[in-house]
């Protein structure tokens, strides 16, 4: 057998020189190689490949072995000789051929093989690309795109433990990709230093690297847990990857202020990542987060931009992040929001900012989080940011924001919270040194009218609107008790009295109606309960009754809970009524003693 093979090899050697290798030869070579691999005779194969006399054969037919070799290495990682064969082939065979084969190797991988394949193939791809010289730019692009595509299919670790375990290999891949990028980034830097203006090829290389960086920011970095507080020693491969990306961007002449603050069109070949697509926005949002919250490469970022301008720009990214439902996005959005607000002076944001779309949608997203997000941690954070935002608004902006929130809100709790803020603002504005025409004087009336009203009139469900009504009553009581200051701002008082009168009148009607209704419900429940007591015992609490409140079905609750809710409602109405009475008392007191005018 060995002798036969030797004859064949000799024939090949001659054929190569004459360029006479036939398809049969290719097939034969492949089979022979495959046999070696399967039998574990890879040393023999390696010797053959490395033999100078066989150089021609290897150059012409070597590529055919690659698929099998790669498969072998993936099966048995300790197959060093196979790896050596691949390495040699990568240095010897035609670069174009190699590229095509390698790209095929990283396409459409089985999920379990993604990490291993990428870690294996990246260095070899790099070798081949570096051999391509001036032609490399588009191929680098293809390679980066192919690699990134597979990496984006890997699940992103959620906790520190998961990251350390790296069960799916994402961290390993990111490290491999960082190493893969290095020589190309260096090349771009070198070219920049040595000549003025790059060639088209250099520019394309930059563009491909930029595409890759932006793509990586989006997947996987945007989903990764990169909290500095948790990862104090910053050993995480994902952290290193993020740092590499952020260092690469300015190195390839894409300074961060340009990327983050100016959506300017680039002179170079535009990739779709430089447009306003959601994906591009997500990449930049991740960039903003890494820079401003995790402070990666902040020391190289110009310290000359005004904090309000930075907030304005970041608002767009916060908008993108908060419009998602995944916790990792929301968390990043909230942190970026907090960080950006903290840099701004209290009570300073101009009202014009509220005209920007992002300054409208971000608070709306926040309200969504506050009211329906199931994760308590996020709700708590959201709450803090919400108040922080209000605190940073200037007086006129606060006024406008409060009006906007009351008008657009559909949640009594949110409205109640805003009304509390209004009360606090009025209280503050009456103190010396904090006077603001927006919360004292005629400007406050439209705000009060908006707040102290019942949009649904007598049909208002007081239980539903409880939060809002209680805060409104608190506000009213406060305003009446502080009347002596109002007298300084003439013509407020009569208007205020009118608002108060109308409000309380309507409230009394609502109370009467609501109380009647709920009392009726309680009575019904008591009667039903007697009948159903036996059944409830038998069904062991599994019985659930549907209850209709004002033509809307209340969510299914046990009868006991329903009863409690109704009782609670009645108590609440008592509370409201007593507040109303108190307010009217104060009002009458003022008239009697003449302190009201």
């Amino acid at each position: 057998m060995a002798g036969q093979l030797q004859d064949v090899i000799q024939r090949w050697r001659e054929a190569v020189v004459e360029d006479g290798l036939r398809p049969e030869d290719h097939e034969l070579f492949q089979n022979a190689g495959l046999m070696c691999i399967n039998q574990g005779d890879t040393t023999q194969l390696l010797d053959f490949i490395q033999d100078e006399k066989n150089k021609g054969i290897v150059e012409s037919m070597g590529c055919g072995l690659l698929a099998s070799l790669v498969a072998e290495v993936l099966k048995k990682k300790s197959s060093f000789t196979c790896q050596a064969v691949i390495t040699h082939l990568a240095k010897t065979c035609s670069p174009m051929e190699l590229m095509l084969i390698f790209l095929g190797q990283v396409d459409d991988l089985h999920p379990d093989l993604i990490a291993d394949t990428i870690v294996l193939m990246a260095p070899h791809l790099q070798t081949v690309l570096l051999r391509l010289g001036e032609e490399k730019a588009p191929w680098v692009g293809l390679a980066l795109a192919a690699l990134q595509k597979q990496v984006s299919r890997l699940p992103v670790p959620y906790t520190k433990e998961q990251e350390v375990e790296d069960a799916y290999g994402l961290c390993r891949c990111c490290s491999a990709l960082a190493r893969f990028m290095e020589p190309f980034v260096e090349e771009v830097k070198r070219k920049d230093n040595s000549e003025d203006g790059g060639t088209a090829s250099d520019n394309q290389l930059k563009t491909e690297l930029l595409k890759f960086c932006m793509g990586s920011l989006r997947e996987p970095l945007l989903q990764a847990q990169l909290d500095q507080a948790i990862d104090i020693h910053k050993q995480s491969p994902l952290w290193h990857f993020a740092t590499d990306i952020l260092a690469t961007l300015p190195a390839i002449q894409e300074p961060l202020p340009g990327l983050l603050f100016y959506k300017a069109l680039k002179k170079r070949e535009k990739s779709d990542l430089l447009t306003d697509s959601t994906e591009a926005q997500e990449s930049r949002a991740c960039l903003a987060y890494l820079l401003f919250v995790q402070l990666i490469t902040i020391e190289s970022f110009p310290a000359v931009f005004s904090p309000v301008f930075v907030l304005q720009c970041n608002m767009e990214y916060i908008d993108v992040l908060l419009s998602r439902k995944e916790e990792s996005f929301l968390l990043k959005g909230l942190e970026l929001y907090t960080k950006s607000l903290e840099r701004v002076e209290d009570n300073s944001l101009p009202v014009e900012l509220l005209d920007l779309k992002s300054f409208y949608s971000v608070p709306q997203h926040l309200v969504q989080i506050l009211t329906v997000c199931p994760i308590q941690g996020l709700r708590e954070r959201g709450f803090k940011v919400f108040q922080l935002f209000i605190d940073k608004l200037g007086p006129e902006a606060k006024h406008k924001f409060f009006r906007c929130m009351i008008k657009t809100s559909r949640h009594a709790g949110v409205e109640g919270y805003i009304i509390k803020n209004i009360k606090n603002q009025i209280e503050l504005s009456l103190k010396p040194g904090h006077e603001s025409e927006w919360f004292v004087g005629i400007q406050v009336l439209p705000l009060l009218r908006l707040v102290l009203c019942f949009p649904r009139g007598p049909e208002t469900d007081l239980l539903n609107s409880m939060d809002r009504v209680m805060e409104s009553l608190n506000l009213l009581r406060y305003l009446l008790m502080r009347d002596m200051d109002w007298q300084q701002t003439s013509s407020i008082w009569p208007e205020l009295c009118k608002i108060e009168e109308d409000y309380l009148q309507m409230l009394r009607v609502c109370l009467a109606l609501s109380r009647a209704y709920y009392t009726g419900q309680v009575k019904n429940m008591r009667e039903d309960k007697k009948i159903q007591a036996q059944e409830a015992r038998e069904a062991r609490g599994a019985l659930v009754q549907t209850m209709t409140v004002k033509n809307e079905k209340v969510s299914d609750m046990t009868p006991e809970m329903q009863y409690q809710v109704l009782q609670c409602a009645l108590v609440t109405f008592d509370l409201m009524e007593s507040l109303v009475i108190r307010i009217e008392e104060i009002s009458e007191e003022k008239v009697k003693t003449g302190t009201a005018v």
């Binding site: 920049d192 230093n193 002449q253 300074p255 202020p257 340009g258 603050f261 401003f292 402070l295 902040i298 020391e299 970022f301 110009p302 310290a303 000359v304 931009f305 005004s306 904090p307 309000v308 301008f309 903290e342 840099r343 701004v344 002076e345 300073s348 101009p350 014009e352 004087g441 005629i442 400007q443 439209p446 007298q487 003439s490 013509s491 008082w493 009569p494 208007e495 009295c497 009118k498 008239v591 003449g594 009201a596 005018v597």
Partner: protein
């Protein structure tokens, strides 16, 4: 408008119950100047005023009106328009954003190298500059000038639109006074830099005065 009105009711008539508070109020509202009404707290819905004002007070006001003769039309126009302006809040024209912060400029410029003295940037122009920023104690907290001259040739200066509030106020105001090619030292008070908060992430403490050496390379 009658310059002088005649008293319709005597003191006795005023005190009597036949004359309602509302009648008196109506009369006064119809005939007194705005400022008079404001001072005596007689503005607004008659019903409300009647609720809160006592008869004695109205009598006093009525007498006051005839004593002071502050009848409608006797007051200068400015008072009226002032009042109207206050009421029509919604129609207020949108004002320009500039934070009103009158007072001396909070930066000081010394020219280190003269510029061409012709190309001065205007608000909204794109400018490019090299800069080094340091604190009062000399610590350099930021610069965009690379270490070697060769690298500088290949780096790009910082570009931005001046005068639009995108950078700290000291820069916005300072650079507008520079001409192309000029190198200047800008000493900026904290109010026009990063104020009470500072920028701890970039090593700028609170209430820090900043010193920038800026070279204005290009004006768009």
């Amino acid at each position: 408008m009658a310059a002088e009105l005649t008293r319709e009711w005597s003191d006795e008539q005023l005190k009597s119950d036949d004359l309602s508070k509302k009648d008196v109020i109506k009369f006064i509202q119809d005939n007194a100047t705005h400022s008079f009404l404001a001072e005596h707290k007689l503005m607004g819905n008659i019903k409300n005023v009647a609720k809160t004002a006592k008869k004695e007070q109205l009598i006093i006001a009525y007498n006051d009106l005839f004593k002071s003769k502050r009848f409608l039309g006797s007051e200068p126009i400015e008072d009226v328009t002032e009042h109207v302006k206050n009421v029509k809040m919604e129609d207020k024209p949108k004002e320009v954003v500039e934070v009103v912060d009158e007072g001396p400029p909070k930066f000081f410029k010394s020219v280190l190298k003269k510029g061409d003295k012709t190309n001065f940037p205007k608000k909204g122009d794109n400018v490019s500059c090299w800069y080094t920023g340091s604190l009062e104690d000399g610590t350099v907290f930021d610069t965009n000038i690379p270490a070697t001259a060769r690298k500088k040739k290949q780096s790009k200066p910082l570009s931005f639109k001046v005068g639009l509030g995108r950078v700290i106020r000291g820069w916005d105001e300072g650079i507008l006074t520079m001409s192309k090619g000029e190198t200047a030292k800008l000493e900026i008070e904290p109010e026009w830099a990063y104020g009470k908060k500072g920028l701890p992430d970039s090593k700028i403490p609170p209430n820090a005065k900043l010193i920038f050496e800026v070279e204005l390379v290009a004006v768009d």
